[in-house]
Point group: none
Chain length 248, copies 2
Amino acid sequence: MLKQERQAFILHKVNLHNRVLSSDLCIEINVSEDTVRRDLQELADNGKLIKAHGGALSKSFHNSFNSSQVYSLENKKCIAQKAATLIKDGMFVLTTGGTTIIELAKALPQNLQATFITGSIPVALEYMHHPNIEIILIGDKVSKNSQITVGGEAISKIKQIKADICFVGTNALDAEQGLTDNDWEVVQVKKAMIESSDKVVSLTIGEKINTCQRIQVCNIDAIDVLITEIPKDSAILQPYIKKGLEIM
Amino acid sequence: MLKQERQAFILHKVNLHNRVLSSDLCIEINVSEDTVRRDLQELADNGKLIKAHGGALSKSFHNSFNSSQVYSLENKKCIAQKAATLIKDGMFVLTTGGTTIIELAKALPQNLQATFITGSIPVALEYMHHPNIEIILIGDKVSKNSQITVGGEAISKIKQIKADICFVGTNALDAEQGLTDNDWEVVQVKKAMIESSDKVVSLTIGEKINTCQRIQVCNIDAIDVLITEIPKDSAILQPYIKKGLEIM
DNA sequence: AAATTATGTGCTTTTTTTTGCAACTTTAAA
DNA sequence: TTTAAAGTTGCAAAAAAAAGCACATAATTT
């Protein structure tokens, strides 16, 4: 097998499977590991793939994970746009924390007049840019992981509220396991918010649908509306429609 | 699984769920905890995520604040440096809002272990960068002008506290009129904070000394320490020394 | 065509990287 | 404070990469 032929084969294979092992290649092409390594080196030098210990990775594979500051920002913006339409003048709105909720805060129309209640510091900061919005901050100890206030004080304050709608930034959603999260204190706060609201809206990027975390926030039927960037008729959403959720 | 592949997987997961546990990762990718820890360490060194006990956090959660357009920044930094020396491990510290207090938050030593109580959103965000600091956020309605929480709830919470020291960002200070401000609600909060503290420290840039505003926060003798960027023996400070204030 | 040069390949040895293990220390939670 | 979990350090085995060398083959020059 000629050198160029070999390298074309390697490139094809790496793009097909996203990754190759040197050991596999040298068996398949029947050359020494040295040769394979030298080929990989050459392809890597030309920027055709990314070399790794023991093999190589496809270029596209690696790029997809080199994302910018906010993960999956475009999807979150799309979700935020949809969510913003649910908020009407005069409403009392409870929101959790998280980057999707920050996008929601940014997506709110400038002239909206409503009251927003949150325990999230970055979210509150974002609300502040809206002149007609009233902000109620839930006080208590600040959890550094999640950047929201947590604890008994916060929860008892939330319980005193009767909000029209609650937007929950969702970490993991599953038709069977419901809404789950991984921080015990944050879960308590989310639970309280859900209980205090007439309508519960889960903002969930597609990737988080059908995933689970350690601690349950609520059952799937506690959620009224599920907003994702995925089209409504997509197969992945059908179980949720069956459970009675409204999809946006 | 190749190393880069593994790290890409970890990065993906941490960005997806904001937080990962080492223990989960090492089951999912089927390597030892050591390897996961080393991967996390490496990713943290490259600034891709933030390592924590037992796992890692997504970077997009810890965006810091940009203080490019702060008035008289250099003076405020100088004041903040001096103020930071007053805080010892284990203290309960009450702080108001304002850019000088933000500088104080930035000037705190990394290893300081203390509890900070504030109603200011930007200040709280700044405290969050310090790993050993406990933050208590005072909740209530947010005043957009001052970016702090104001109102009866906030004040009654402050009154429940007995703090060691209180740092007041000062808008106007005069030997006769005392500490004054121009926002009625903010004044109420500052009053409460001063009453709840053993020691009161006023952070005041030179320009604001011998100026007055509409509403009085407290008399001059309620203040224990005055910190400015002006040298102690300057003529402008003599009336304050006479009134018994300690100058820094 | 012969000689020379350049290139490609595989082998061996050395060096580096990666990984898991074990003993010990630090951290955080009860 | 006590205790369990997580982190650290040093080490050793295994895997992979790099370097140097030998040999074969192709290309180029004379």
